[in-house]
């Protein structure tokens, strides 16, 4: 019997190629997307959950607030914290991690490496990253030791054994390779290429600067409460009575390792943080596509009911029971689903590299979690077969033979209402995703074109500059002689993403205890000029000002500060009155030299906060070069040649400021791109369903159309008549989708302190697109029927 069901199912599919094609193609597309998005989500949800002792692993967060302000949460902690807690009874092990970019030389090869970590000795014991060679307990046990990843071993040493080889770091110190680790998997926030021993850094331990991640392994997860109590007590000790009285607060909070990627407020170590919202969006898209493809299936199956009712009637008259017919139809949907699943799987395999690029991930199929995917696919197979089969099977097997067999075909297509509701649902979903895509893209446009208050265009950034003021001056002078270079400056951080947290106090006209949390950035003399930051009051820096801050020892220096408008407002000054005021920035005594017009120095997600920039030549990491006009490649080549002379130990590594800027919105770009592709797919699969439905409807109305044409209807009349019904459905879908999309878009935009407004044209565009696409789909079929010779269609009756 089953063999026969199968045979009949195959025949039915072959007989109706358009119908089967639409179903298989739609379902295969949906399944392929489902697989890709499942892989993505699986990666997200297994982030940092795979370490052997994951339940005992925590990262300590620091919550620090001044004078009653809401504490700022950061993952960076002082380096002394680890020393202070390592003897607590709850603690098994503590590891500090410090991330920095370095340049590495091996023999004549020279690279800049961005995924370089310094970590305490038990790093490979705490985190179960497998080591290919070396002993986890000893690989980082002393200074100048480094463990490299397998791909780095290949890059630097080819096929020779890296253990024992010497790498020159930043042109100064030599590190010995003590071990090779397997490449970090895609689901860890500690993606490293190099892990060097923390003891190499020989850093003074103190509470004053928070630049280190502190990871702990507790002896037992149940001890979390007592650990928190000790941490709170420890933090309390670090605040003076004076600070406490002014309302300052400090605390350290353990965050579960598994929660860091998606739930921690603080960023990940070597990459941007995950975002739960986007995971929900991707899950929604994956599920939705599958549902829409299933809907196509159900719609087409029931729309064909007239065609199949005769078969049902005959079979019943021949002795078929309802149950037998039910299973026959179920078999058909199972067969279709099976074929679609096969094609979908193949499609997913083929598209995985493209998806990896689109979503900026490195997913593999059938990797560590292969069996889980296949388990999900088996479930999907049964679920989709069941869902797509059950309604048509019940519906079709329920036909009463006499209705069907009596004379002519009196059985009219049934379930029209349900079919129409399903089409409305599909198009509502399509329109919703299209609007979401447009909202994201509009915001990205807004960010790109928003006046930042600083000019980031054509600014070249050179990484890894290390030299004193004199060398810098000389280098600057030679750079400025190149044609195409207009300004040159230097700084410690990218001007579009300034993170440094400082505070100012001892402010003229304020009590001594008053302090203001502020972002700060050391700059070079021509910084404001190079980046086009405007001054509201005061003067730009002069050579005399620079001489003031180059004095040694540093106690004799007189600093010059530039505050932004927001900072000045917070201090209760006007821009003019601010100039010349005395203040102290983390121990630096100086006066306000000028007030800058507000500019965006970090992501648009945050409001502009107070910032101070000040000349200080000890920290520069990057050279910024404003280029203009002429051939860019030539300018870069010339700069590169100069760099080789001045900084022979460091590779010439440059990027544009625009890249820094765009990187801040990486996850938004990514979600925009993914959303765009999948919204298109949702639309296409919906249209496929519509195409099939239109084909069937027009086919069923052939006779009516023939009669109408005989009575004098034109082709246009007929097409309009046939298309009208479908367009009405799309319009209803539009009405339903718009409020939901508005709400979602509104919420998403609100995460940005600065955002585009939701404009009407967006909704109009999405609606128009949906209607045009639907119209094209439908009219193709309508036109075919409408131009048929009426005599033919009537005779066919």
């Amino acid at each position: 019997m089953w063999k026969n069901y199968f045979k009949i199912a195959v025949k039915n599919l072959l007989k109706r190629k358009l119908y089967a094609g639409i179903n298989v193609f739609g379902l295969a597309t949906a399944i392929a997307c489902f697989i890709l998005l499942s892989l993505y989500l699986e990666n997200e949800w297994t982030y940092d959950r795979w370490y052997k002792n994951v339940t005992e692993l925590y990262r300590l967060r620091m919550d620090y607030g001044e004078k009653g302000e809401k504490p700022v949460q950061t993952a960076l902690t002082p380096n002394i914290l680890a020393t202070a807690i390592k003897d607590q009874p709850e603690i098994e092990k503590v590891v500090r991690v410090y991330h920095r970019d370095v340049s590495i030389r091996y023999e004549d090869k020279n690279w800049n490496e961005k995924r370089f970590l310094y970590a305490d000795a038990p790093f490979f014991q705490l985190f179960s990253f497998p080591l290919k060679s070396g002993n986890a307990a000893t690989v980082l046990s002393g200074p100048d030791m480094v463990v490299i990843s397998a791909s780095m071993a290949k890059k630097y040493f080819g096929d020779t054994d890296p253990v024992g080889k010497i790498l020159l770091i930043n042109g100064k110190r030599s590190y010995q390779v003590t071990g090779v680790a397997a490449d970090a998997p895609s689901n860890t926030h500690l993606k490293f290429d190099f892990v060097a021993s923390y003891s190499t850094l020989q850093l003074k331990e103190y509470w004053g600067s928070a630049n280190y991640y502190t990871y702990v392994q507790v002896q037992h997860p149940a001890q979390l409460e007592s650990l928190q109590a000790s941490l709170t007590a420890l933090a309390r000790q670090q605040l003076s009575d004076e600070e406490l009285n002014s309302g300052a607060s400090l605390n350290f909070v353990p965050e579960r390792m598994a929660d860091i990627h998606l739930h921690s407020v603080a960023a990940d170590v070597t990459e941007e943080k995950g975002d739960m919202r986007y995971n929900y969006i991707f899950a929604l898209i994956g599920g939705m596509l599958l549902v829409i493809a299933c809907v196509n299936f159900m719609n087409l199956a029931t729309a064909r009911s007239t065609e199949r009712s005769r078969e049902v009637g005959v079979r019943k008259a021949l002795g078929a029971q309802r149950g037998q017919l039910f299973w026959q139809f179920m078999m058909e949907s199972a067969l279709l689903t099976g074929i679609a699943l096969g094609i979908g799987l193949l499609l997913a395999k083929l598209l995985l590299p493209a998806f990896n690029q689109l979503a900026d991930v490195h997913l593999q199929m059938g990797g560590t979690s292969g069996y889980r995917l296949y388990l999900v696919l088996v479930i999907v197979f049964f679920l989709v077969s069941f869902v797509t089969g059950i309604y048509p099977a019940l519906f079709l097997s329920g036909f009463r033979p006499v209705q069907v067999l009596k004379g002519s075909q009196t059985a009219t297509p049934q379930g029209r209402g349900i079919r129409q509701s399903l089409v409305v649902f599909q198009f509502a979903a399509s329109i919703f995703f299209i609007i979401c895509t447009l909202v994201v893209q509009q915001q990205m446009q807004y960010i790109q074109h928003k006046k930042l208050g600083l000019d980031r265009s054509e600014v070249l950034a050179l990484n890894g500059f290390k030299a004193d003021a004199q060398v810098l001056e000389a280098f600057k002078g030679r750079l400025l002689q190149l044609s195409g270079v207009t300004h040159v400056t230097a700084s410690a951080e990218s001007p579009v993403d300034i993170q440094g947290g400082y505070s100012i106090d001892h402010i003229e006209g304020r009590p001594a205890s008053y302090a203001l949390n502020i972002n700060a950035l050391p700059i070079e003399k021509d910084y404001l000029k190079t980046l086009g930051i405007n001054l509201l009051s005061g003067e730009d820096l002069t050579h005399a000002d620079i001489a003031d801050i180059l004095k040694e020892p540093s106690e004799e220096r007189a600093y010059h500060f530039f505050l932004n408008e927001t900072a000045v407002k917070k201090l209760g000054w006007t821009p003019e009155a601010a100039v010349g005021k005395r203040m102290m920035l983390n121990g630096r005594q100086g006066t306000v030299k000028g007030v800058m017009k507000d500019f965006h120095f970090t992501s648009m997600k945050s409001k502009i906060e107070p910032i101070v920039v000040f000349p200080e030549y000890d920290w520069f990491q990057q050279i910024y070069i404003k280029t203009g006009g002429s051939d860019k490649q030539q300018v870069i080549a010339a700069i590169g040649a100069l760099w080789k002379e001045v900084q022979p130990a460091t590779p010439f590594d440059y990027h544009f400021l625009d890249d820094d800027f765009n990187r801040m919105y990486k996850s938004e770009y990514r979600v925009g791109a993914v959303l765009g592709v999948f919204a298109t797919l949702v639309m296409i699969v919906s249209c496929l369903g519509l195409l099939g439905l239109a084909a069937l409807t027009t086919q069923q109305r052939t006779r009516e159309i023939g009669i109408r044409k005989v009575l004098g209807a034109s082709v246009t009349n007929v097409v309009a008549m046939l298309s009208k019904d479908f367009i009405r459905l799309v319009v209803i879908a539009l009405v339903l989708a718009v409020p939901i999309a508005w709400y979602a878009g509104h919420n998403w935009l609100n995460a940005f302190a600065y955002h585009a407004s939701l404009s009407m044209w967006l909704f109009v565009a999405a609606g128009a697109l949906a209607i045009v696409v639907a119209l094209l789909t439908v009219s193709l079929q309508s036109l075919k029927t409408a131009t048929m010779n009426p005599v033919k269609s009537l005779r066919a009756e």
Binding site: L318, G319, L405
Partner: protein, 221 residues
């Protein structure tokens, strides 16, 4: 074999009802060849459908082989379809997707016969109807008469006690009709299959041994 007692059938139409059959009493004995005749709309097809258990009467009793079937549930009714009743339709109603062979095989599938049994039974019927050469063709590759032959082959393959034929030659020209009617005659004579046909044609009716006239829902005479 078949006994109808005071069978009525009506459909609701608007607020009233459309009476198709009124108090029909009818007995058909085993081995009879009965022709039901009457003008269009007289209720003959409905009568046939009730006989074939495709429709339930609104009132009255129906005994098939001495068993009351008018109140049977669908499952039991299906059992009867499979074992005892074969249908032949005016429009043949072959399944377009299946070959001649498969069409004939279908009732046997629903009787849960084994593969080899099905094979031999279908082969017998094909042989008997001289259609072995056509067994792999699809219905639309056959003429109307040939299609109806397949329809009859399909009706008898499960060896029913009675064949119900609804204007079996209605779509055929006279030469083809003659072949079909002679086949019915032969099945009635040789195989002792009871045959009930609905027909408009006086000529066709002569093949049978009893004519039932129906008019406005009543059996005449």
């Amino acid at each position: 074999m078949i006994e109808l007692q005071k069978i009525s059938k009506h459909y609701p139409v608007g607020f009233g009802k459309n009476e198709i059959l009124k108090d029909v009493d009818l007995t058909i004995r085993e081995g009879e060849f009965v022709s039901i005749m009457g003008p269009s709309g007289s209720g003959k097809s409905t009568l046939l459908h009730i006989l074939g258990l495709l429709e339930e009467p609104s009132a009255g009793q129906y005994l098939f082989q001495g068993e009351r079937v008018d109140k049977m549930n669908e499952k039991k009714r299906t059992q009867l379809h499979r074992g005892a009743i074969g249908f032949v339709f005016q429009a043949y109603h072959l399944i377009d997707e299946l070959t001649v062979y498969e069409n004939i095989e279908t009732p046997l599938l629903y009787k849960n016969l084994s593969g080899s049994e099905r094979k031999s039974k279908v082969a017998d019927v094909l042989d008997r109807f001289n259609m072995v050469a056509k067994k792999d063709l699809f219905p639309n590759q056959l003429s109307g008469g040939q299609q109806q032959l397949v329809g009859i082959a399909r009706a008898i393959v499960a060896e029913p006690r009675v064949i119900l034929a609804d204007e079996p030659t209605g779509n055929l020209h006279s030469d083809q009709a003659k072949v079909i009617m002679e086949l019915f005659k032969q099945l009635n004579d040789q195989d002792k299959i009871t045959i009930v046909q609905v027909t408009h044609s006086d000529l066709n009716a002569t093949y049978g041994n009893r004519i039932i006239q129906i008019r406005d829902g009543y059996i005449q005479g």
